[in-house]
Amino acid sequence: MNLITENLCFKPEHEYYLNDISLEFKAGNLYTLLGRTLSGKTSFLKTIAGLQPVDSGQITFAGKDFNSIPVWKRNVAMVYQQFINYPHLTVFDNIAFPLKQRKMKFSDIQNEVSSAIKKVGLQGFEKRKIQELSGGQQQRVALARSLAKKAKILLLDEPLVNLDYKLREDLRNEFKNIFSGDLSSQSILIYASTDPLEAMQLNGNIIVIDEGKILQHDSAKEVFENPSNVRVAEITNEPAMNIVNGSIESKKIILNKDVQIDLPDKLKTIKPGKYFFGLRASDIVLDDSGFQFVVDLAEISGSETILHLHQDNLKFVSLINEVKNFNNRDKVMLKIMSENLYVFNEKGNLIFSPFKNK
């Protein structure tokens, strides 16, 4: 029961929405479609659902041509980032809607609906109207509707992005449990997200998409550890990985005229020349023996401090694992953990990763 897309292209005007997408989704797996806003995530999900045409390309599901099957016969389910429910129906009728549409027996419908309601924790709300629910509850109804349907393909388009911060966190944990418990070996789950932390937490396969093109498709760990190019490195890290233009010359990495670091042993095989260097925000640490930087902005988030820094033309974001107060324009000393440097060639493709070459 695999879903295969081959060379999907969609270019309604001047820009590609989907650019030559060829992927294979295996039944029983969770896929996270990770990309910034407008990168083509929604477009791709809608194409799978059958709501959006393609210019060329083929979708095959379970060996059958999917292109020619209309939406209403595809047996997919989709949850949108807006809270989309049927406002004129009660919670129960909302969840029962796809089942009634399938002409199921009423007693079966009742069983399915009540078990879906239990899964999303909405017991006691069956008779409520949609408008009487909070945003989080509305999204639970939408999820319950898609679960009750037991569709073979479940598409979730940033389902948590419009919720309050804390609610998002709670619901994400819940969703993860629902998926791991409920996802039968028959169905495919595709979850679109902009948030790398969310993608890492869901811990499925990550598909990195940008400008309608698939940049990388691998396990969460692999994508995080070995991003195939600079764009992936930026998209899969929060805060984005620092990408700096620099060069390797005579045993040194030169980032600008002041910031020069000794070439770590691991990198000695790379020949001198111009490169992009990638450095995670957490790999720039406070250390008196380091280089002097100026604080542009210090932000405290929960248990961490994020420093936006610059030194001449060099700009860095650093993540410090404690809560510390800085003022703008403070001078701080920072060390660059050179053993954790990524090296990308001039085209931006990965040529050295601290994980792969350990």
Binding site: A49, L51, W72, I84, Y86, P87, H88, P98, Q101
Partner: protein
């Protein structure tokens, strides 16, 4: 006060006889004049007994207005849905232009349309017939329906239709089971406007009919002869306003139940 005064005046006039009307300003029944039922009785008396021709036009009007409104709502709603959901493109003409085209029918002075309508109906042999009037009124009322419904459909998120499709509805089911129930307030508003505009139209009813088929506004004006019968004129005017008041009353009750607002956020 300004709204109610004409009504009250018409109401009091309808109970006056010839002398009470012409003999200076008199307003309060029994005190200033002796109320008479003459104005009302002529409405129901048959024509042979000095009655006026009002009942038949009345039913003609009800029939024409209702059928034209109903047809306008049905076709207008479908057209509006298409305009709201699908993208049309014919050269430089886009969805908004089509919507505007519908409305532009109402912008033109009726006199401009009257001649083509007259000729068209003449060609079809539908002059002075109920069917012809219904067709003309449909043309007049549909822009209102389309205009209001496009706005309402635009407020129903497109994702709701999509969800319905995903949930196994074909496009028609999605429209009837999901989109339409969420646009009921719009339907009511559009229906109300259609009925009002259809009911009060005098111009086309006057031009496109001669003797066989008469609509109420025309019939009322026709009462006016050498001696203006103010009493029966007032009475028939009140009778003609009555249905609108009833409709407005029902809708108002519905509105106050809160069913119209807040169906969708």
């Amino acid at each position: 006060m300004f709204v109610i005064a004409p009504f009250l005046w018409a109401l009091s006039t309808s109970f006056k006889d010839f002398n009470s009307v012409t003999g200076g300003a008199k307003y309060i029944p029994w005190l200033q004049f002796e109320p008479s039922l003459e104005g009302w009785s002529v409405l129901i008396r048959s024509q042979g007994k000095g009655g006026v021709n009002i009942i038949e036009p009345y039913f003609n009007s009800v029939f024409v207005t209702c059928s034209a409104s109903l047809l306008s709502i049905i076709f207008g709603t479908l057209a509006a849905y298409a305009l709201s959901r699908f993208t049309f493109k014919a050269g430089f003409i886009k969805n908004n232009d089509i919507t505007f085209f519908f409305i532009s029918q109402r912008i033109m002075p009726p006199i401009v349309l009257s001649i083509p309508f007259f000729l068209m109906l003449g060609f079809l042999g539908l002059l002075d017939s109920l069917l012809g009037l219904i067709l003309v009124y449909m043309v007049l009322l549909m822009p209102i329906a389309v205009w209001i419904m496009v706005d309402f459909f635009n407020r129903v998120p497109k994702e709701i239709d999509e969800t319905a499709l995903i949930d196994g509805c074909n496009p028609f089911e999605a429209f009837f089971k999901v989109v339409l129930p969420n646009s009921i307030p719009g339907l009511i508003v559009a229906g109300l406007f259609c009925i009002i505009f259809g009911w009060i139209d005098f111009f086309f009813a006057f031009i496109l009919t001669f003797t066989k088929v008469q609509l109420l506004p025309v019939a009322i004006v026709a009462l006016n002869s050498s001696v203006t019968p103010w009493w029966s004129l007032s009475a028939s005017a009140l009778v003609s306003v009555a249905p609108l008041i009833i409709v407005a009353f029902i809708v108002e009750r519905y509105l106050s139940k809160g069913n119209l607002s807040g169906a969708l956020k």
